[in-house]
Structure formats: structure tokens, C-alpha cells
Amino acid sequence: MNSEILYLILVPALTGGLLYLPGKKPRVLSEGLAVVGATITFFFAARIAFLTTRGEVLTLFREEFRVDALGGLIAFLVGFIGLIVVIYSIPYIRKEIEKGVVRFGAVRFYYAWVMFFIASMLWATTTNNIIMLWVIIEATTLASVVLVAFYWNRDAVEAGYKYAMLLTVGITFALFGCVLLYSGASPHVAHGLDPLKMTEIANVAGKIPKNIALLSVVFLLVGFGTKAGIVPFHTWLPDAHAEAPTPISALLSGVMIKVGIYAVIRTVLIFYPFYSIISSLVLGLGIITMVVGVLMMFLQEDLKRFLAFCSVASMGYIVMGLGLGNYLGIYGSIFHLLNHSLMKSLAFLSVGSVIYATGCRRLSDLGGLAKSMPITAFVFWVAALALGGVPLFNGFMSEFTLFLAGVKGGHTWATVIAILVAILTLAAFVHVSYHIFMGKVPENLEQKRIQEVPIIMWGGTLILAALCFLIGIYPQVVYPILNEATKAIFAIMAVP
């Protein structure tokens, strides 16, 4: 029994509960509680990741909870990005209160929902129960709805409504898929074993009738695919990412959509050894997702929507890797998942710094900020080059792995499209980065005294930028972790 798993979920959940308790709390107390809760959560996540990425599988309550290297890696990302986001939020939300955009009393609710959101994502990556996986994935949506609509203006409630409705409807498909999986596996699971456990379902995946297996895969791809922002179920993503407070956008894009992918990996990939059509379907979805994402990037004037569509394109890469189905493809997919978490959180937090300093997020209102905000300019350039797949940055390493996997897997056409998407992404980022930080300062900003953001904000972004660079120049540091995570995916697949 590994009680770390229990603490991993309980710490953020209880912190959220404490923050939610009625009664006046000084703002500093709410912020302090959230930071302490997020820090302890991070240490538990790091401990679990440390153990699991060395090949250990942690379990709790007769394997109701089960964490292998993949779950451990994603739990670590949730804990790590969660901590950075909570710290970053302190000056960001204070400024929003000063501007009158956020009510003073709403601060504790903000941190409470952030902690609930983190707890739900951690629970999703540690459960081994197929129905609870659905319950908790839906809970991640419910915990973040209030955060998406947090500003409570016209755009925020519109985004909140679309987010809640689309994800809830989408995820209902996944419930049908989960029930079909459980129902199809039940007669084949040996007596005394629990057919609700995903590991048991995976063991008998080949015995589930073909019709049921394929139907449940379709339902699961629609349901969890909606959560992961896969085209054509991605329409909630740009609205939610753009209208949520920017630290929340970093959480949504950096980790929440990865939890959706995690659910797809756990429920859909178990059929790979038996039905090759599933990997082809996943590959096709990946390619469509990356193409739609990158084309939409060029139509955006709003910086956050631009980054949101970039997330769609990046999810395309991750899904493409899963669709390739071979070891290198799935390895590349996990690699890109890790990198994208770091790069996209960095990009959103850098844009958050720009919004914090200027109050603007439209491209046409920004320009020449490099002189007044050198650190933010530097970290945004790192994010841009990493997301654009430039050598020496982490994005290049994972994209290159995926290209290699595509060619080795005999899907040269997919690789060519992926390379074109990478080139277009780089072009879009160079254009946007140049526009924000180089050139002439626009008139609307000349009157303002633009200053670099406080260290509490740029500190986190600098750590993320350093990691993007470190993994880019010395990727060997993460190879063993990625290897264990990929092995964990193949380990639960049944042999045909």
C-alpha cells in the first residue's frame, strides 16, 4: 500500500476545502494556504514520479489506485505546473483586483477552485477504475468551469457556457464507451478479479467482441477526445483558454488537455494489438488536428486564442504519435506531451506577463516591448522557438522523434504534413514574437510606463525556459523517464 497516492489527492483537495470554508479570510492567508498546499502537493507528485519512473508501480486500496511511470510523469507535471501557476497567480490576481476586474472576496474562491482542479487532475492520473476515471475526468471539467468564467463578463460567461456544455455532452459519450468496455470485458475477467479495473480490462481486450470494442473506441475518442481538444471536438478550447485568467489558461493548456490524452491512452490504446484500424483512425485525427490548429493560428489577432490554436496543433502531434502505434511513435508522443506542458505553460505565462504589464492582448495593440520587458521577451522567445521546433530547444527533439517514427512506421505522408505544420508554426511564432517585442512601440503604450513584471512572476517562467533549453541541448536527461512511461503503456497491452 502506497499512501503517498492518498496524500497526493487529499492535500490539494483539503486545501481547496479550507479555502472554501465560509468566513472572512485575509487575502494573504488565502494566498499562503494555496502556496503551501501546492508546494506539499508538488513534493508528493515529485516523490511518486521519482519512484514510478524507476520502474515501480504504486498501488492503493487493492489496486483501485495504480500509478505507473506514465501516471507518475503526468502527476508530476500537474504538481509542478500547478505550483508555478499558484505562485504566479498572486501578483496577477492582485492586479486584477486593483483594476476592478475581480472582486476582492473572490480571491479565496479562485485559489479554492484551482486546488480542486489540481486535485481532480491528480486523481484522474492515479485511478485504476474505469468508471471512476470517467467520473474524475468530468470532475476536472466541473472544477475548472468556475475558473473559465471567473471574470464574469460577457465573453467569460459565453466561454464558460460553451466549455461546460460541450465538455459535459462530449464526456457523456465517454461514459457510454466506459460502460461498454466494462460490460464487454466482464464475462472474460477471471473470477475474483474486478472488471472495473482498467488493468483487468486491458488483459482481456482481445476477447471483447469486435463490434463492442470498436463502438466503445469511437465513443471514447469522442468523449475523451473532446477533453483533449482533438479536432473536430476542439471548439471549446480557444474560447476557454482565451477567456480564463491567464494562469488558468496555462493550467488548461499545460496539463488539463494532457489528462484527456492520458484517458485516451488508458482506454483506447489497449486495443492496438488487435485492431489496426484504430491506430489508423487515431493517426488521421492527429493529422487533421494539427493542420486545423496551425491554419487557425494565422487567423488570430488575440494572443491567447493564438496560443490556444497552437495547443490544438500540438495535440495533433501527440495524437499523431499515438496513431503511429510503434514504440518510437508512442515514445515521441509522450516526449511531446512532456515538452508541450513546459513550453505552453511558459508561453501562456509570458503572455500573462505582457497582459499584466500592458493590459493589452491584441496583437495590433502591442509592439517594441523587448526594451521595457527584457526577461519576458527572452522567455517568450524561448517558448516561441521551442514551440516552433527550432534545434537546441525541447520542442525540436520531440517533433524530430515523431518525424523519425513516422518514416520508420511507413507513414511518410504523415511525416511530410507534420514537417509542414512545424514550419508554419515557426513562421507564425516568429511573426507574433517579432510583433510583440520588436519594432515600434504603438501609441497606446507610449503613454503608459511599461515595466518588467515582478520576480515572483518571471521567476517561474525562467525555470520553465531553462527546462525547455536543458531538454533541448541534453535530452538524455529525460530518456529513462520517457522509456519507462512508454514501457508502462505497452506493459498493460495484452498479447494477441
Binding site: 477504475n129 468508471i131 471512476m132 470517467w134 467520473v135 468530468e138 470532475a139 471539467t141 466541473l142 468551469v145 468556475v146 468564467a149 464574469w152 463578463n153 460577457r154 465573453d155 467569460a156 460567461v157 459565453e158 466561454a159 464558460g160 457556457y161 460553451k162 461546460a164 456544455m165 459535459t168 455532452v169 457523456t172 461514459l175 457510454f176 460502460v179 461498454l180 466494462y182 460490460s183 464487454g184 466482464s186 464475462p187 472495473l196 471483447i208 467482441p209 463490434n211 463492442i212 463502438l215 480557444p238 474560447d239 482565451a242 477567456e243 487557425m296 487567423l299 488570430q300
Partner: protein, 221 residues
């Protein structure tokens, strides 16, 4: 189970009729009442199946608390505070009833006839589970229809509830041995989802002056 098959068929048909009413009644309060009737029918169905599988008594109780008491309370409270009349839908009465009838007939026929595509075990393919599954998938598609064609935000919540009822109904045939904890988790999610959706829709009403989702056009591309 055979002695109950007549009741099961009648209740199943009634579930489809109540879905019609939930979707087509333009008065949102009456539509919510139709949902309560549907929820009571579902509980009755669980009780009938529970005569063979006693675990389903818990399901009936859970469904009663959430679907007959809590969710209708939230819905009716919201409707009382806002508008009772549904925002004019895109398709009129006749067109909508005609369209949904075609969908119901086609979908029920297909799922009932090709049951092997949705039923994983021989037991689930036999009556009365066969009818139960066909009805659940039909109700599911009716809920989806409601969400897609109705422009009133509260009506889309009604659609979501029908959609969820479709899935819950299928559990009788697909997962009769499901643990209560898992079921409680599922219905708790639905209750919280309805609560939060209504909370957000109250924001939509506050900022846009109505619950017409066609006004939500600020965020595009």
C-alpha cells in the same frame, strides 16, 4: 422476468414519450415536470429489474434522490427566477415532432434489430434487456437532438439530462453488477454539472438579458 416484460415494455415506451414531452413542451416548467415523470418511471424500471438483481434497489434510491428530488429542485428554482417560456426554437412544433419521430423510429429500429452491435453478452441481447438497450440509445439520441437544435440554454440542460438518462438506463443491461460507489460517483457528477451549468446560465441571463444561445456569438474563430 417474463411476468414483468409487459410492464417493462410499457415503461420503456413511456420513457420515450416523456422524452418527447421534455423536448417539445415550450413551457420550461412543464418540461421540467415531464422530466420528473421520466425520472419516476426510470426508478420504477430499476425497481422491477431489482426483483431479479437486488443491488438495483440502491440504484432506484440513488436515482430517486438525484433525478426526482435534487435536479428538479435546481431546475424549477432556476426557472422560477428567470423565464418560464422557452426561447423560440429554430424548428416549429410540427417540423420538430416530425423530425424527432423519424429519428426515434429509425434509431430504435436499428438498435433493436442490430442489437449485437451494442450488446456485449447473449443475456443483454435477449428480452427485456434488448428493448431496454434500444430505448436507452434512442433516448440518448433524443437528448443529443434537443441539445443541437434548441437555442434556449435551459432547454439544452434538459437535453443533457435526457442524454444522461439514456446512459443510466443502459446500465441495467450493460452493467447490472456495477458497484454503488461508482454509480453514486456518476450521478453526483450529473448533479454538480447541472448546478454549475445553471450557475453559468444565470450569468448568461445577467449579461445578455436572455437565455438565447444564439446571442453567444462574441467568440468566434
Amino acid at each position: 422476468m417474463e411476468e414483468f416484460s409487459k410492464y417493462i415494455s410499457t415503461i420503456s415506451l413511456s420513457l420515450i414519450i416523456t422524452s418527447y414531452l421534455v423536448i417539445e413542451l415550450r413551457n420550461l416548467r412543464f418540461s421540467a415536470y415531464a422530466y420528473i415523470v421520466q425520472a419516476i418511471l426510470m426508478c420504477s424500471l430499476f425497481v422491477i429489474f431489482a426483483t431479479q438483481n437486488h443491488g438495483l434497489y440502491y440504484w432506484a434510491l440513488t436515482a430517486f434522490i438525484t433525478k426526482v428530488v435534487i435536479i428538479p429542485y435546481l431546475l424549477l428554482r432556476f426557472i422560477r427566477r428567470h423565464s418560464e417560456q422557452e426561447f423560440q426554437p429554430l424548428i416549429g412544433y410540427v417540423g420538430s415532432i416530425l423530425l424527432i419521430t423519424i429519428i426515434v423510429l429509425v434509431f430504435y429500429r436499428i438498435t433493436h434489430h442490430y442489437i449485437e452491435f451494442v450488446a456485449p453478452t447473449p443475456a443483454a441481447m435477449a428480452e427485456p434487456f434488448r428493448t431496454n438497450l434500444a430505448v436507452s440509445f434512442t433516448i440518448f439520441i433524443m437528448g443529443l437532438y434537443c441539445i443541437l437544435v434548441r437555442r434556449d440554454a435551459i432547454k439544452t440542460v434538459h437535453g443533457l439530462l435526457i442524454l444522461e438518462n439514456g446512459v443510466h438506463l443502459s446500465l441495467v443491461s450493460l452493467a447490472p453488477l456495477l458497484k454503488e460507489t461508482a454509480l453514486i460517483g456518476v450521478v453526483t457528477d450529473v448533479v454538480i454539472a447541472v448546478y454549475l451549468l445553471l450557475y453559468i446560465i444565470s450569468g448568461v441571463y445577467e449579461k445578455f438579458g436572455s437565455t438565447d444561445t444564439f446571442q453567444l456569438k462574441g467568440l468566434r474563430w
